[in-house]
């Protein structure tokens, strides 16, 4: 008797596992289709650029506060921790290089993308999910207005524009935070702080690579948020689940992409 119970339980478990897997593949395909459709129909968002500007306000400008405050603290912590270790080797002047390189190469793009997914990505998913649940998207289709070109594409381009700007601001504010801790607070020489930084941070291989990273993260984060909203079941529970999934998927994708991009760039 117990044998058959176990048999059924294992079978159900495997079925669920397979179902989930197939569901994920299906969602990947649907996401790719939406991405292609969005690219094709993004002509309108450039002809009516005001649509994009409005979304840049919601995704970018409204994220400024959280980005600047967290950048400031990240920079300060980096300087404190870096000083603590570097002074053991008698090279506390290298603290400027440490803060600048870790921010420009990694933390700037990555932390900005993670915060962006939490601050702007969730808002996009919830907004589009609710538009779908309240049948606003269907209403648009009824009026022969394509929701992809009117709703999805402007938000996508806004995200792609906003994230690199936010990441550049993050790096700059973080470096200023690191400067505040290192120079006035700890007493590292200001000249050595800046000159070592300038000697070791390369424009093309550090700063431009960071910007490239943040553009890629912008595409990934915004597209995931848009797709989760567009794909959400039109119920309260469906929208809430989609919002959670946006944060989880975006974070994982950003970290995985970061590894892949770094391995290409570091050579």
């Amino acid at each position: 008797m117990t044998h058959s119970y176990i048999h059924i339980a294992v079978k159900r478990f495997l079925q669920k596992l397979g179902n989930n897997f197939i569901d994920q593949i299906w969602r990947l395909g649907a996401g790719a289709r939406l991405f292609a459709l969005m690219l094709i129909s993004s002509g309108e968002s450039f002809r009516r650029f005001r649509l994009v500007v409005r979304e840049v306000y919601f995704t970018g400008v409204l994220s400024l506060v959280i980005i600047s405050v967290s950048a400031f603290f990240v920079g300060m912590v980096l300087a404190l921790q870096g000083y603590n270790t570097l002074q053991k080797y008698g090279s506390s002047e290298a603290i400027g290089v440490l803060v600048a390189l870790s921010l420009v190469r990694e933390l700037g793009p990555v932390v900005t993308a993670l915060l962006f997914a939490g601050r702007a990505g969730t808002a996009i998913t919830a907004e589009i999910g609710l538009m779908k649940a309240t049948e606003q998207l269907s209403a648009m289709e009824m009026m022969a207005v394509s929701p992809v070109s009117r709703v999805i594409a402007p938000r996508f381009w806004a995200g792609v524009i906003a994230l690199p700007i936010l990441a550049a601001l993050f790096s700059m504010i973080g470096i200023l935070g690191g400067y505040l801790v290192a120079v006035p607070l700890i007493g590292v020489d200001a000249g050595a702080f800046w000159s070592q930084m300038q000697a070791n941070v390369d424009w093309r291989f550090d700063i431009v690579n960071g910007v490239i990273k943040s553009i890629v993260f912008g595409v990934a984060c915004t597209m995931i948020a848009l797709f989760e909203g567009y794909d959400a079941p039109p119920t309260a529970e469906g929208v809430s689940r989609a919002t959670t999934r946006t944060v989880v998927t975006s974070s994982l994708v950003v970290l995985a992409l970061d590894f892949a991009l770094t391995s290409f760039m570091i050579i």
């Binding site: 500007v53 306000y57 970018g60 400008v61 700007i165 550049a168 601001l169 000697a199 424009w203 700063i207």
Partner: protein, 177 residues
């Protein structure tokens, strides 16, 4: 086209972003300090380049005058061929000396150029004939130990013995005590 406050905020946002990028480029990066315009390339062969990497600075009298281009291995001479890109505004004599130095004790390695006295200047594609390899610490230590070992008398005698007429055996035993 009417203007809204949203446009103003987005304008400020984009301006801030451009300012941050400019700040990164000017204040943090080396766009202003180490930009090298048009360059000419010369080659130098080293028996050992140590930890020299491409894009390392090329300095003369401590001033950056160029960058290391690519580094490759010549299988016929078993030497490293380093191509050096020098800024066009600096011309060096043909008998210039190329050394590999280390910045500080643990710093990066760079190429130092010491100008010779030749009338003819280095041109694109020329080869620097006089080079000095990177200092390898292990080599230096082993050479030092070898030199020490090869002259035991002077090494043993130098300590504080006022009477220098003792035999070698006495000196050795005294040293051991």
């Amino acid at each position: 086209m009417e203007r809204t406050t949203i446009d103003l905020w987005v304008g400020i946002f984009v301006a801030l972003g451009i300012a941050a990028l400019l700040g990164l480029a000017m204040k943090v990066g080396n766009l202003t300090t180490n930009t090298i315009g048009a360059t000419y390339t010369v080659e130098a062969a080293f028996e050992n380049i140590g930890g020299l990497k491409s894009r390392a600075p090329v300095k003369s009298a401590g001033v950056v005058v160029g960058r290391v281009g690519d580094i490759r291995f010549d299988a016929s001479t078993y030497e490293a061929i380093v191509s050096i890109n020098i800024d066009r505004q600096f011309s060096f004599p043909a008998d210039t000396f190329a050394n590999i130095y280390t910045a500080g004790l643990l710093g990066e390695q760079y190429i130092g150029l010491e100008a010779g006295g030749d009338e003819i200047a280095l041109k694109e594609g020329d080869k620097i004939m006089q080079t000095q390899d990177a200092v390898v610490l292990e080599k230096m230590i082993s050479q030092f130990l070898y030199n020490k070992a090869s002259e035991p008398e002077s090494a043993a005698k130098t300590p504080t013995h006022d009477d220098s007429v003792k035999t070698d055996d006495d000196a050795l035993t005294a040293n051991a005590l």
